[in-house]
Symmetry: C2
Subunit: 243 residues, 2 copies
């Protein structure tokens, strides 16, 4: 296994950071590495907001569900899917731009995620720790207002970056046999049952936050309610009308 693959396999979310700052030159290097990721038809449908204002960081920490590290990490970024820039560039050439297609939501969301994952890998290659903050979608409208996001731009997730002040275990993943299938989709409930045993053992032995649960029971509260039911109306209001 080469060093890059070892690095990828060593990922875990970091939520406690030292006071050490991230030099601006390094941040630029990470973002550029992000931009090097593949992009659908070269559309580069993303914008990253580097949130420096401490009031806004504290506000977003609360809006994301009380995640204090949003305010205390060395750097906090918000990754936005951005269909404004490419559609306006097209419109300036005289194109009769059709906005709000469902496909445009997918293209922009995927572009943003590919880009962010490269930033994450680049950051970890420099000894930084990161944590994705999907919690900004708890209150996406308030976050969008704080960042003055225009129409056709929506915040997909945030990311905390900083030098790690803890070393949590790497969390197990589903058996590769469950998620990789040959030629056709097949049932994998036996692999899920085995993974529930793995996670039961993990939750009981990990160094922090022991609990008696497994993968299936841990997910249940997520799907036993309407998950972020405001997202549809929010996206429509942003111009992602899902036509």
């Amino acid at each position: 296994m080469n060093d890059v693959i070892k690095l990828l396999n060593s990922h875990r979310s970091i939520r406690k950071f030292t006071d050490q700052e991230i030099p601006h030159g390094l941040l630029l290097e990470l973002i550029k590495a992000g931009q090097a990721a593949a992009t659908s038809s070269h559309v580069q449908a993303y914008t990253v907001i580097h949130v420096k204002d401490s009031d806004n960081r504290e506000a977003i920490a609360e809006l994301a569900g009380g995640q204090g590290y949003v305010a205390s990490s060395a750097v906090f970024l918000v990754f936005c899917a951005d269909m404004k820039r490419p559609t306006e560039a097209s419109a300036r050439t005289g194109a009769n731009v059709e906005r709000g297609m469902t496909e445009q939501l997918l293209v922009a969301t995927v572009d943003t995620a590919l880009m962010a994952q490269n930033v994450a890998v680049a950051a970890e290659s420099e000894g930084l720790g990161i944590c994705y903050i999907g919690g900004i979608r708890n209150n996406p409208e308030a976050v969008s207002e704080l960042l003055r996001l225009p129409a056709h731009v929506y915040p997909v997730f945030g990311m905390c970056l900083g030098y790690p002040a803890h070393q949590p275990e790497v969390k197990p993943r589903l058996p590769v046999e469950a998620i990789l299938k040959e030629d056709y989709y097949t049932d994998d409930s036996d692999h899920v049952a085995a993974f529930d045993d793995t996670m039961q053992a993990y939750y009981q032995s990990r160094s922090s936050g022991n609990k008696n649960s497994d993968w299936s029971h841990n997910l249940a509260p997520l799907f036993d309610s309407k998950l972020r039911p405001h997202m549809r109306d929010f996206l429509v209001k942003r111009g992602f009308t899902m036509k």
Copy 2:
């Protein structure tokens, strides 16, 4: 700049491959490296179909818009957003699962993209070349039928992998100043104008497929029509009803 960041910056899509095969053990290593990526609430909402059947590969090459390398690359994978596995696992614990939320579409799409980008980076670290195939969304229903995808699973993109038989230039990206903003979203049309000049020069000087165009003009046909207008109905039919 460290070697990992150099690797990320060297990405370009590879569409011509040698006959060299990818050992199955290496493929498993790449997929596991993919699984190590961050996942929203540990949901791991993805399934990868390794398409080996040559008839299906040729069919998908056609369905994706006549992309022959889908059939001829050493390995062709289809990355699927999978809400079936986690919601069924939840249901088995007795949870009253609510499906079809827009947020679930986002979670599964982002999870799939983060995972795939790790596979791409891992592959390139082993000297392989890759090419994302968004074109499978030209005919997502036919692709889903070929792969026997059940409800609550949809094919996000494909990926060709193999040993490169050409060395295309790295394509320029928007200036980092355009896509990275401090605290608030701001206008970046001046950076787009500069980037149009960059791309004009690139398209005229690159070693293959010279043309007289720039970024804005190149995107215009993409937005001057309804981009993949079938995607909404397709997703609804798959159970991603975007409630």
